[in-house]
C-alpha cells in the first residue's frame, strides 16, 4: 500500500465500515437470541444488551462519517439515554415475567428469589401478590 492511498480518509472510512458491520452483527445477535433462547428472561438478555454495544458502534461510525464536531454531543446524549432506559425496561419486563411465572424452572440452576417471594406471599395470606418483599417505603 503506497502512502497516497493510506490517507486519513481511508482510515476513517475503514474504521467506520468495521464499526457498522460489527454493530449490525450485534443486532443480528439479538435477533438470533430472541429466536433461540428458551424463556422470557434469557430472551431479555438478548433483546436488550448487545443492542447497547451495537448502537454505540453504529453511532460512532455515524459520527466519523459526518465529519462535524457538533454531531458528537447529540450522539453521546442519544447513547446515554439508551444506557439509562434499557436497564429500566429490562428490569420491568423481567420482573413482570418472573411474577407471572414466564420461566422454565428446570433451566434455572438456583433460584434464590423464589423462597423470598413465597415467604412474602405467605405473610400476606394470598398467593399472587409478591409486593410484600419489596417497595416497602
Amino acid at each position: 500500500m503506497n502512502p497516497e492511498t493510506f490517507s486519513a480518509d481511508t482510515v476513517i472510512d475503514a474504521v467506520s465500515a468495521v464499526f457498522m458491520v460489527v454493530g449490525a452483527l450485534m443486532s443480528l445477535a439479538a435477533a438470533v437470541g430472541l429466536l433461540r433462547f428458551p424463556d422470557l428472561m434469557t430472551r431479555m438478555h438478548a433483546a436488550t444488551k448487545p443492542q447497547v454495544l451495537g448502537l454505540f458502534l453504529l453511532l460512532f461510525a455515524l459520527g466519523l462519517q459526518m465529519r462535524t464536531w457538533w454531531v458528537w454531543p447529540v450522539l453521546g446524549v442519544a447513547w446515554i439515554f439508551q444506557l439509562l432506559t434499557v436497564p429500566v425496561s429490562a428490569h420491568m419486563v423481567g420482573r413482570a415475567g418472573y411474577r407471572t411465572k414466564h420461566l422454565h424452572p428446570e433451566l434455572l440452576s438456583t433460584d434464590e428469589l423464589e423462597a423470598v417471594v413465597q415467604q412474602a406471599a405467605g405473610k400476606r395470606g394470598f398467593g399472587d401478590d409478591g409486593d410484600a418483599a419489596t417497595d416497602r417505603r
Binding site: L25, M26, A29, V32, G33, R36, F37, P38, M41, T42, M44, H45, A46, T48, K49, P50, V52, L53, G54, F56, W70, V71, P73, V74, G76, V77, L83, L84, V86, P87, A90, H91, G94, R95, Y98, L107, L108, S109, T110, D111, E112, L113, E114, V116, A133, T134, D135, R136, R137
Partner: protein, 181 residues
C-alpha cells in the same frame, strides 16, 4: 405536599446535564444559547419538581475513568458471549436467579449498581429489595454454585468500584476496612 427545598449545589449536576442536553439538541454551544438553556433548565427543574437525588458528596474522577473503560470492555466481551450462547447453546442454556446483598443502602448506589449490572450482558436485575438493599439477578449461563458465586462477586466488585467513585465517606472507609481485613 411536602416540598423540601434543595440547595443549588445539590441541584447543580441536574442543571448542568440539562444544559448539555439543550446544547446537544440545538447543536449549538455558543454562550447565548447555553445561557438560555440554563434559564430553561432552572424553570423546568422548578416546575417539574422531582425528589432530590442524595449524592455522596464526592466524585473521584481518577477512579471513574478506568471504571468506565473496564465497563465498556466488559460490554464488548459479554456481547460476544451472548452471541456465542445464542448460536451454540440456544434453547438449552442454563441460568439462575441469584440474590446479591449489597453493602450500601443509598438509593443512588443501589440504582447505579443495578444499572451497570443490567447493562453488562449476562446479568439482568429481576427484583430489588430496598429494605435490605438486595439485588436479585438473573444470570445467563450460570450452571452451578461456582458460577453463581462468581456472579455475586462480580456484582459486589461493581458496587465497590462505584463506592470508590461516588460513595459517601463512611461507605468508603467501611470498604477499605473490609479490603484490609
Amino acid at each position: 405536599m411536602n416540598r423540601k427545598r434543595i440547595s443549588l449545589r445539590q441541584e447543580l449536576p441536574l442543571l448542568v446535564w440539562l444544559v448539555i442536553v439543550w446544547g446537544a439538541l440545538w447543536q449549538n454551544f455558543s454562550p447565548g444559547n447555553l445561557l438560555f438553556g440554563a434559564l430553561t433548565a432552572v424553570v423546568v427543574a422548578r416546575l417539574f419538581y422531582l425528589p432530590p437525588v442524595e449524592l455522596g458528596g464526592r466524585f473521584n474522577l481518577l477512579r471513574a475513568v478506568p471504571f468506565a473503560l473496564v465497563f465498556v470492555a466488559k460490554v464488548v466481551t459479554a456481547s460476544f458471549q451472548v452471541l456465542y450462547l445464542a448460536l451454540a447453546r440456544g434453547p438449552k442454556v442454563i441460568s439462575a436467579v441469584v440474590a446479591v446483598p449489597l453493602r450500601s443502602h443509598s438509593d443512588l448506589l443501589v440504582t447505579a449498581t443495578g444499572h451497570v449490572t443490567a447493562l453488562i450482558p449476562g446479568s439482568l436485575v429481576v427484583e430489588v429489595d430496598r429494605s435490605t438493599s438486595t439485588l436479585y439477578i438473573h444470570g445467563i449461563n450460570v450452571r452451578n454454585a461456582d458460577d453463581a458465586a462468581r456472579l455475586r462477586k462480580d456484582v459486589r466488585d461493581t458496587e465497590a468500584g462505584l463506592i470508590r467513585i461516588m460513595g459517601t465517606q463512611a461507605e468508603l472507609s467501611a470498604l477499605n476496612q473490609e479490603a484490609g481485613s
